[in-house]
Symmetry: C2
């Protein structure tokens, strides 16, 4: 099938290994100035003989060096070292232990972590929890799509069949969003970013849950707004405190998670949902409801977007947590006039979107395999959560609530232990943790920690955690 | 090979067609309330018999309706219509004839155009000019990548092998950019947008070429900066005018195209490049040099980024014009401290990037096929440009200069004809044109028009253009 293409493209073994060997040899000679700028490379035939490989391997290697710019081809004459400076091979930017433990800390540590690093502090599932076979199948399907799908810019709203599917899925949660009121984005994060550009000015006040997803805080700071938090209860934000902040700060916007709240695992009760929405109506507060963890629910919690009918509530979501974070596709469902304004902003700031990611997402969602994958995920998460809760209990770490689903346990450390100190110590042993205050605008969660149960499979998580807690307790 | 997967996924023919037929029949019955909310669907066996299809086809169809949310499965009981409102099937947002001919006009008309619409005004190549076979091969390669590549968020800087390759390619143009000074973005446009967020404040002055790429103007307006233009000459911006604007307006930033300028086809001369950079140094102006059309050059023009050594000049680029606009990957090369700041901004505003698009781009660039594709493209463009120039000449439309390469002819219409009027008339006949003033901050290009020669293959372009010019002349 594709074997012929693979081997000529150079994988790990056989001809691919020889190809890499020839390229590496030439690069070494160029950087050591054994072949200075302007020098002619050995002939293809000569190099093949010297290195014991075929002439076609050498031709391919030289072709790739040309593609890289290290070498130039002069037709009829041969291959020459490019007469231009080569960049220094500076070290990559690495994890920054010295950096303040701010909302970026967990993101950077997690995203930059090498394979050896354990990440119970990160917000996503390990690769082997994701639907690998379905992803490969969907990519092969996309490889057979018609040409324009593979080459052209996307339409401003994005892939119509995917928007139709999203519309039907939202209808099942009571959120009425016709496809024309849905805009595809490059991620859920990008969706929120675009909405902030549309809806707030620097200096406006934005309401968040305290604690909340730490990247909401990073994103809001990038927009230079005032952030005010409302304490969370297991059934949603504290309504009295919410009412007080609406009255005192006149916030423009409230950003929250639908369904299973990040990091707490709280789920909105119907009566709190109703009272929150009434407060937002009275105070003219726009709401962004991020449904990113919605598919982890067993039973659907109330959605503000459903109660409100997409009037002042904007629904956003993506599939980065349940399908793939490597080819992302987010969406916004909102009032038609907001969607029209977002389309102009999307054209200005990203032009055509990512049609291949949308095509891939559609291929993954449109049949029964996604539902089966979610069923399997939820079961596995439930089992894993029970196991991790028990192991944390041994260390005296107690969950704030029993979450109804999802990836996270929001936990209290034993009295007097500072979570940031624990996280710094664990990082030195290649374990990324998520200390409570990165989620807290009031910095009132210094004794809390969020654990991603799916990333706690290695027992080293608990041994490093135990030692880091001992160290932090001694320090404190 | 993948045929078995295809047919069960539902393509055009055979079982796929039957699957669509069953789904459409059920959707019709649901929306007509023949099956009202809560009603039970026919049994799988019964439906299979009635519709003359296999039970597995019906099971698949019902599974997809569940995936869409239209139907719910009750294990052991059967399938039921979901008890929730279904969205209205509102019409999609269509092209807007009535809209003002502003910088968004050409973008929206081009991006929203259906298959029947001709687009000599758009800025990209037709699908059949793109490396289709290479794209399909690269997608199949990515489908075989290791699991984490397909599921995980990208690192903050992005795919290291692609950054190494970009570093070597830039070195061949004299631009010294180590991989650690290169950040991958979701597109060239997103790269500029992030830089603007980092470098300018609302009210700052930004210098552009007049005319320039119309989306620079849209993007700068989204950032609420003052835009000042400098007239273009065939060898770059007018240096005297540039000096005057630097002195009078103290601009923070200058944005321009490297290599073949959009829309004019102008190419920087070495002496103008040197004088421009000296003026930017003296006036402390940062420069964004967008290399998006660089790969269309036969011979490399001077790069400000090369002269400057990536000190005050920032290089950005992407492969949306030469590889694919459907899985985009852009990049920024800049000073290390700016890259560090961009990483934080990238995490806040998009979190993990698009690793699959980066992987795909790397697979397409790393061997000799890209060079061969570019050689073919340049030849085909040269032939097509000559042909289109001759056809335009018949209508009295004259190119401003003979471009050295690229997609565009920047042309003067016959005296007294307003390009926006011509474009509006042509749009009514499904031809999208690019009238000069969408490129001009001073609105001084009302008699000019940009033609994308690769999109002029259909003779109807010229017949509609001729009639639209006659109409506009009579109107004027």
């Amino acid at each position: 099938m594709d074997i012929s293409t693979t081997s000529s493209q150079g994988g790990e073994g056989g001809e691919g290994g020889q190809l890499e060997r020839v390229m590496a040899a030439m690069r070494r000679r160029i950087s050591a100035r054994a072949l200075p700028p302007g020098a002619k490379l050995p002939s293809i035939r000569g190099c093949a003989k010297t290195m014991g490989v075929s002439t076609s391997t050498v031709a391919e290697a030289y072709g790739r060096l040309v593609a890289e710019g290290a070498v130039q081809a002069r037709p009829g004459s041969g291959f020459y070292v490019t007469r231009t400076p080569q960049p220094l091979a500076l070290a990559e930017i690495g994890p920054r232990l010295e950096r303040a433990v701010d909302p970026f800390w967990v993101s950077r540590q997690s995203l930059e972590a090498g394979r050896a690093v354990l990440k119970p502090g990160c917000g996503w599932l390990p690769a082997d929890w994701m639907p690998e076979a379905d992803l490969r199948r969907a990519l092969r399907e996309v490889a057979r799509a018609e040409t324009a799908v593979l080459t052209d810019y996307g339409t401003p709203l994005g892939h119509a069949p995917l928007r139709q599917l999203l519309s039907r899925r939202m209808a099942a949660q009571g959120v009425v969003a016709p496809p024309a009121q849905i805009l595809l984005t490059e991620s859920g994060t990008q969706a929120i970013d675009m909405l902030l550009r549309l809806l707030v000015e620097p200096g406006d006040t934005v309401l968040v849950d305290d604690p909340c997803y730490f990247n909401f805080l990073a994103l809001l700071r990038a927009h230079r707004v005032e952030i005010v938090g409302v304490p969370m209860t297991p059934a949603g934000p504290d309504v009295e405190a919410f009412a007080a902040v609406v009255a005192s700060h006149r916030p423009r916007l409230y950003i929250t998670n639908a369904a299973i709240h990040n990091p707490t695992g709280a789920v909105l009760s119907p009566s709190i949902a109703h009272r929150l929405l009434a407060l937002c109506e009275a105070g003219d507060v726009t709401v962004i409801e991020d449904d990113i963890f919605g598919d982890f629910e067993e039973e659907a919690a109330p959605r503000l977007a459903a109660l409100d009918g997409l009037s002042r509530v904007i629904r956003i979501g993506s599939f980065s947590k349940t399908l793939t974070a490597a080819a992302r596709c987010g969406y916004v469902a909102a009032r038609p006039e907001w969607i029209a304004a977002l389309v102009d902003l999307k054209i200005a700031t990203s032009f055509g979107g990512s049609p291949v990611a949308a095509e891939l997402t559609h291929a993954l969602l449109r049949d029964g395999s996604y539902r089966r994958h979610l069923n399997g995920l939820r079961e596995r998460l439930a089992r894993t959560t029970a196991d991790v809760r028990a192991r944390l209990g041994v260390l005296g770490i107690r969950p704030w609530i029993e979450p109804r689903g999802g990836l996270f346990l929001w936990c209290a450390l034993p009295d007097g232990i500072d979570a940031a100190a624990v996280a710094r110590r664990a990082m030195a042993h290649d374990v990324v943790l998520a200390p409570g205050n990165v989620f807290s605008v009031s910095q009132s969660a210094g004794g809390m920690m969020r654990f991603n149960v799916a990333q706690c499979g290695d027992p080293r998580v608990f041994s490093v955690l135990a030692r880091a807690m001992e160290g932090a307790a001694a320090e404190g």
